[in-house]
Symmetry: C2
Subunit: 500 residues, 2 copies
């Protein structure tokens, strides 16, 4: 137990997170600066995320494909904003061979094997993909193209944190091509809604859907849509983005199509992505001082059964009784682990599965055998109760559904409790220190946005698309007002926060 | 049709393959030398391969994880044989930043951003993984570790061909750690059998299981097991390998464990992998001059239905009739595409789906509507027949099973027909020109093996583990003999071929 003890959230939130990621066997740092190892338990959660998102992409008509890891350096320069955003910190391949060190120790780069043009390890794939689409598109009949790829990408971040910001991360990137601006815009919004649906209903994390300010836009996008989540320390986390790219990449890579009237025009584009960063959001949104809290929809296993016994005879009796329950749970689509390993004590197992966020724990001892009961614990509230063995599978099924709702509701209520309006900049400077989402008026200029960021470290998370409920019961929509900093007109309140 | 025409296999096998990969929308070359784009139809087949293999790995107790893309240069040198095999041709990252070219055109590598130690894009991950396992393993209780990763890897090949040999490719690599030599050896063999099972029963490609000669062993392995397949041009293709690594990597990375008696020992290891090369094997083993032939178990869709009609009324009638069939097929687990697009002619669709290897094609025209029939074509034999609409789904289900068997049998019979024994080197030199597998005696030395390779371009594919049937009806097992080159004693015949 001592080995597994976590720093508490109250003591040091950041340390609590780092601790939890490592101790719950989710991920760890590697020998390569800024690159992580995703451990089997963490990867099992990522696989559930992947599988569900992949299904949702396919249901909305997308297909997977795979594009090269490397991007010729010159491609990055073709879209002016894009190069500004992505050429800065990236891994550059300059050589293609090593040779034995002339002094006999190890290997060195072979200077004779220098590439004519350097290759960049993809930080995102718009350029290589649009260079490919050029050959796929001639006429409107070739459109739309609705591709997605699951891939690793590299951005040379200076300050890294497991899952939240790593030099290499895993993600999916959708890249679509359309005949009209409207269709591309519709696609960009559709995928934002898919992301919001997934994050709210599977990750149980409420999000605000919105539009990024020009300053926070993806490099090369005309419009960036995003979903913003709130972590338990009151900091925001961007959970996914979907970009309307206009004709920027089509122009950069000269991708034209002939329409039904045989007129040539540039193709319209979107791109959208979520990454292993979602793992960070999942962990930070729900977990507690005992460890992970996983929403049942994403738990690698939803139920663990721990027998408590003395001697083989008692164990055999429990084994026999539990067998039918396991079958019944599986037939209800519930994943279950029966841990009757004899080299660990029940108490050790209890804290281990709490740490790993297994939603439901069932303990079964001698008295339970006699009374036809089990002890059932739900991870979200840590409540225990003794319940009848009869009808247990059905009871667990509805409990898991209830927990999924409850975990969402808890996060939603917390978010609402720290979401408020602020009307003056003085008040803003005080309030921003307390964390949470602040809805304030802004004059729409990059200058004001940057001043606020410089003064307070707060950024505009988004210009929200929907109404937002605040702690004091107001519903904030499209009401105009005056910028809290400059007093100039503001079309509507926008969402400020400090963010990951 | 003209657009899609393939070079025939007889005319130019190599050109036929390249043509087919591109025209069937499987993959294409990219702007990056040696790197391919895997197109949606090709990727859909790869996803089926992945999904099934992943299930088989999990059924045998393995878990997925993810390790860094980059390997510090010094890691490669830690295992002496390994560095010889893999340091030669690899992508080397030397810098982590680009900057605007001082002359204002594009971007250049920032010389100030040079890495202290170069990073290698993984050609395989033994080194980075064993460096990680060092921290995971203390005692026998931590063993075995049974991890797999799905990843991209890069080997800077000079002569590349789509799927068969590309600079970047996709693969899975299993890396396991064990307390005993026996257990590791058992694991290496288990995974070889998993591969053979998959390749034979899903890809419908018969394989010879065997052991590599010392010369053909994986760099760093004590023993390499392999499965060898035969392509239609008589050349062999290594379809998968599984390595018993002994304690080589544990020693290189100092990974020890304490056993039950508290004695320290180095950990025993295996690694095993298959790659997108399997796509090449799948294509080359079965396809014909009309295009791809896909075994039903791996076809992205197994049935295509094409309506033949004049006017909307006829189409509506066919749509209505087909609807129930589609539901019935889906309920039998059969994937189906109904192509009633009106911008392509039936003839065009027929050749398109032949090219793409869709196992079963159903055409339904006006006469079929009147007679309650359909025209059914099976892709493997190109046989057409008119059959009743009644009981069609069940008929298709058994036809797909029959086709899966038939495609395997055809490949198996072909292989047997070109598998023969040879006893003299003169005869060998004549026979090897004809392609196929040649079973001949070899004295077991690398010198003889290399002489044969130099003289004839033939390599020892493997020392087979099972009996092999030859064209003339013999069954070749463990019979000793004399080396065809040196006359020295040979323990048993080994398998020679020219190979991809």
């Amino acid at each position: 137990m001592a080995l597994k003890e976590l720093t508490s959230r109250e003591e040091d939130y950041s340390q609590w997170y780092n601790n939890l990621v490592v101790k719950a066997d989710l991920a760890e740092s590697s020998a390569v600066r800024g690159c992580m190892v995703i451990k089997p338990y963490g990867y099992a959660i990522w696989e559930k995320i992947q599988r569900k998102l992949d299904d949702m992409f396919k249901e909305t008509g997308h297909q997977n494909a795979y594009f090269p890891l490397f991007i010729p350096k010159s491609f990055l320069s073709k879209e002016a904003d894009h190069v500004e955003g992505f050429a800065k910190e990236c891994a550059v391949v300059t050589h293609y061979r090593l040779k034995t060190n002339p002094n006999g120790t190890g290997v060195v780069v072979d200077p004779a094997a220098k590439l004519e043009e350097e290759l960049i390890v993809r930080p995102t794939s718009e350029t290589i993909i649009w260079n490919t689409y050029k050959n796929w598109i001639n006429s409107y009949r070739d459109l739309p193209i609705l591709c997605n790829q699951w891939a690793n990408v590299v951005r040379w971040e200076m300050r890294t944190r497991l899952f939240l910001r790593t030099a290499e991360f895993l993600w999916q990137e959708g890249h679509t091509a359309h005949a009209t601006s409207d269709e591309a815009m519709e696609e960009a919004k559709r995928m934002l809604h898919v992301y919001a649906d997934f994050v709210e209903n599977y990750m149980a994390v409420p999000v605000i859907k919105g539009v990024k300010s020009a300053n926070e836009r993806f490099a090369g996008a005309v419009e960036t849509f995003c979903i913003e989540a709130l972590m338990q320390d009151g900091k925001a986390l961007q959970a996914g983005t979907s970009h309307f790219l206009g004709q920027n990449f089509a122009k950069a890579f000269d991708v034209k199509f002939s329409d039904k009237n045989n007129q040539l025009d540039y193709v319209w584009a979107t791109s959208w992505g979520v990454s292993t960063r979602l793992m960070g959001a999942l962990i930070m949104a729900h977990s507690d001082n005992n460890g992970l809290v996983l929403p049942p929809n994403l738990a690698p296993f939803q139920v663990v059964i721990v027998p408590i016994y003395k001697g083989e005879e008692q164990l055999n009796a429990i084994n026999a009784k539990v067998e039918g329950l396991i079958c019944e749970l599986k037939s209800l689509g519930i994943s279950v682990k029966y841990d009757n390993a004899d080299n660990k004590k029940p108490g050790w197992k209890f804290s281990e599965y709490e740490l790993k966020g297994v939603p439901v724990r069932i303990a079964m001892g001698q008295r339970d055998m006699e009374n036809n009961t089990v002890e059932l614990m739900r991870r979200d509230t840590l409540e225990k109760e003794t319940v009848s063995f009869d009808g247990l599978a059905a009871r667990i099924k509805s409990l898991l559904e209830e927990m999924q709702q409850n975990i969402y509701k808890k996060a939603f209520d917390y978010r609402t409790s720290v979401t408020r309006t602020v009307d003056t900049y003085d008040e803003f400077k005080v309030e921003i220190e307390k964390g949470g989402f602040i809805l304030a008026h802004w004059d729409g200029t990059t200058e004001t946005e940057e001043k606020i960021k410089e003064d307070t470290k707060a950024t505009i998370r988004c210009i929200p698309m929907d109404e937002i409920h605040t702690a004091d019961g107001h519903v904030i929509g499209n009401e105009p007002g005056k910028c809290m900093v400059t007093g100039r007109p503001s079309a509507r309140r926008v969402v400020f926060a400090r963010a990951y």
